[in-house]
Amino acid sequence: MDFKFTEEQQMLRDSIQKFVREHYPADRVGARRKAFRKAPGFAEENWQQFADLGWLGVPFPEELGGIGGDLADVMVVMEELGKGLVVEPYFPTVVLFGSALMLGGNADQQQSLVPQLIEGKLRGTLAYMEEQARYELADVATTATARDGKYLLNGTKSLVLNADSADYLVVSARTGGDRTAREGITLFLVPADAEGVKRVDYPTIDVLRASEVSFENVAVGEDAILGSVGEGLALLEAISQRAILALGAESVGMMEMLYRDTTDYTSQRVQFEKPLAAFQSVKHRIVDMFVQTELTRSLLYRATMEVQGEHEDAPLDVHGLKHMVGKAGRFVGQSAVQLHGGMGQTEELRVGHYFIRLAAIDAQFGDTDYHLGRYTELMPIPEGEPDADLLPF
């Protein structure tokens, strides 16, 4: 067992922190984020810097121009981007689109797209969610009908992250089965400017960008299929696991900043002739924030290493992680806002932005209740007779 970060990971962390200090200074976070409300919602020159510094290549193999990192490396990146409240679309392009290509793509697809992605010349996103689906990956009404060696896509995808700056969309559609059937889902690689693709773009509450994307007789060839026909759900689930790990890392980074900022603020702010942090109810609430953060971090490490090593407990702990991220994230975020008083309600301090982003994360890829339910289905129940020999404590 080994829980150390490698020297490379430490360097990666340092370089992102340096970028954040330069481009996302804490005292300008509010104004900075406001400026990004309009399309494309981030700075192209930052994206190019991500490419130049090698961050876009982190999880991709060296043969494709990447640096051959693993999920722990992505975790480091996401944690630091989270701390910096960075808006560049690393998550949709590298985590969602990148995982779709690496887990489902064939050699041709990978070779034609991944090197460009790594160079910062191509972006993608995942168009999987539909309005009626809530958190069910299998609830897909969009259809893909085979005709003359082509597929025609029809339907509407909702809340597609950064679609307005994406070159490719990975779209889930039905090649068979009823709307909620687990079989019959296929993933397609669709150019964002294909004929029949329409978008309505908008900023989300956490000042990122999303779109409603409709498909009207959008024709794609068989070479656009990612993975196997009809077996797209397993692929979606695998992408979703990686999405949860990445959002978990981002959340843990933010939660750490929240308890630190709250410690600093309440240690400096004097009321009733002493620092607020000297009041025990304030102090203990901050400790609770710290405890929740460390617990979530521990589960994040556990789930990340288990998915990386393809452990049998991986699905269980990923559900547990997203459950905990939602619950602990809400507690930590709310506590930070509360303990900053009036200042906590403003857009001026970064705590409010972390708070909003954590709420947004809970509402993506399944919220805290949804994943508790999924965990409950998978929870191992040992075989054997009831056991009256309870352990004394």
Partner: protein
């Protein structure tokens, strides 16, 4: 980062399993074969005193090996050791005791021959332990201390032959100074032990009274006035044991089996989704805490210090113990009324309520949760009062 055991660690795990299968006495033999069990542990090279350093005959395990031992033994019932001597006093004697004291006391502690109790708390000194008042006055010829006062909540005080005890030898200066660490023979004239019955009627704890009790000066550990420093190191040993994460995981696993045996209509309690969700929430936190413990072990292995994750172990570990106990009596349903009878109700209900009642103490002793939080705020977060 790597979650897997190394080759050697896996081998060790196999070795532990094989050893337990072969040597661990079961059921009724737990007491009759206890000595043979301790001998077999000793024959492994110090497995009878896992936490002791190699120079004192311990196995010299790495933190991960300790973790493996805990996990492998948690699911099985082991013949009990006497914890106060082996786990709590021994490390102090090894570090601060004289050679004579080590030779005199350690072998009997190791052989589980002598029962020790811990005399720290007093009626007026609980969480604020340093305000203790039991006085020890050095006789004029310097040969003995004369002790007067009282200790309370002394676990096993009625069965112990010896007590390690914090006494006040000076009232000058800060209260942490002027505390002296004495070893007191419980048979000494002037000692009275009175039982205290805790919730559910158990007798584990006592109040101990000292009336001109004479303690030879050679029973003082270390220097006069330095007892607080010695005891503080020891409290850390106590806390690392109290978290009991492996045990709680085992208790939860048993609870699932027991819940499945409880009928609700024509189904079982495990089919009740609200109950099952409570189990799941508890298990998720436990799995997170289990990993926090591993992180802390890994830090200890690499740096010699347990790291920030360790600070939450006692606090969160005791909370989760109590949560599993709550869910156990919920599972017993109407048989939460069981006061130890076996005439009615599911078998596990016989001990369930007792476990729940005794379990409340875990967030009080070894530093109550509120004090733990104060400590984290100060040491980890740097919050000043």
């Amino acid at each position: 980062m790597d979650i897997d055991y190394t080759q050697e660690e896996r081998q060790f795990q196999q070795q532990v399993r094989g050893f337990l299968d072969e040597n661990l006495p079961r059921g009724n033999e737990m007491w009759s074969k206890r000595d043979a069990w301790f001998k077999s542990l000793q024959a492994q090279g110090g497995w009878d005193v896992p936490k002791w350093p190699a120079e004192f005959g311990g196995p010299g395990w790495t933190p991960v090996q300790h973790y493996i031992w805990d996990r492998e033994t948690a699911g099985r019932s082991l013949p009990p050791v006497l914890p106060f001597g082996q786990v709590m006093l021994a490390p102090i004697l090894m570090r601060y005791g004289s050679k004579e004291q080590q030779e005199r006391f350690l072998p009997d502690i190791r052989a589980n021959k002598v029962n020790w109790c811990q005399g720290y708390s007093e009626p007026g000194a609980g969480s604020d332990l340093a305000s203790l008042k039991t006085r020890a006055v050095l006789s004029e010829d310097g040969s003995k201390y004369v002790v007067n006062g009282t200790k309370i909540w002394t676990t096993m005080g009625h069965m112990a032959q010896w007590m390690f005890c914090l006494t006040r030898t000076s009232s000058e200066g800060p209260k942490q100074e002027g505390i002296t660490f004495l070893l007191i023979n419980m048979k000494t004239p002037g000692i009275t032990v009175k039982p205290i019955f805790t919730l559910g009627g158990s007798h584990h704890v006592n109040q101990v009274f000292f009336d001109n009790v004479e303690v030879p000066v050679e029973n003082r550990v270390g220097e006069e006035g330095k007892g607080w420093t010695y005891a503080k190191g020891l409290l850390q040993h106590e806390r690392s044991g109290i978290a009991g994460i492996s045990r709680t995981l085992t208790a939860l696993s048993k609870l699932k089996k027991n819940a499945r045996s409880v009928r609700v209509g024509d189904r079982t309690l495990l089919d009740d989704s609200s109950y099952k969700r409570k189990l799941a929430e508890t298990e998720i936190e436990l799995r997170a805490l289990e990993f926090a413990e591993l992180r802390s072990l890994a830090d200890a292995q690499q740096t010699g210090e347990p790291g920030t994750a360790s600070s939450i172990l006692k606090l969160k570990g005791t909370e989760l113990q109590q949560r599993v106990q709550e869910l156990t009596i919920e599972a017993a349903g109407p048989y939460a009324l069981n006061a130890g009878f076996k005439e009615a109700g599911p078998k596990f209900s016989k001990m369930g309520m007792m476990m729940y009642l005794n379990g409340r103490a875990a967030t009080v002793y070894g530093g109550c949760s509120e004090v733990q939080k104060d400590v984290i705020a100060k040491r980890v977060l740097g919050i000043k009062d």
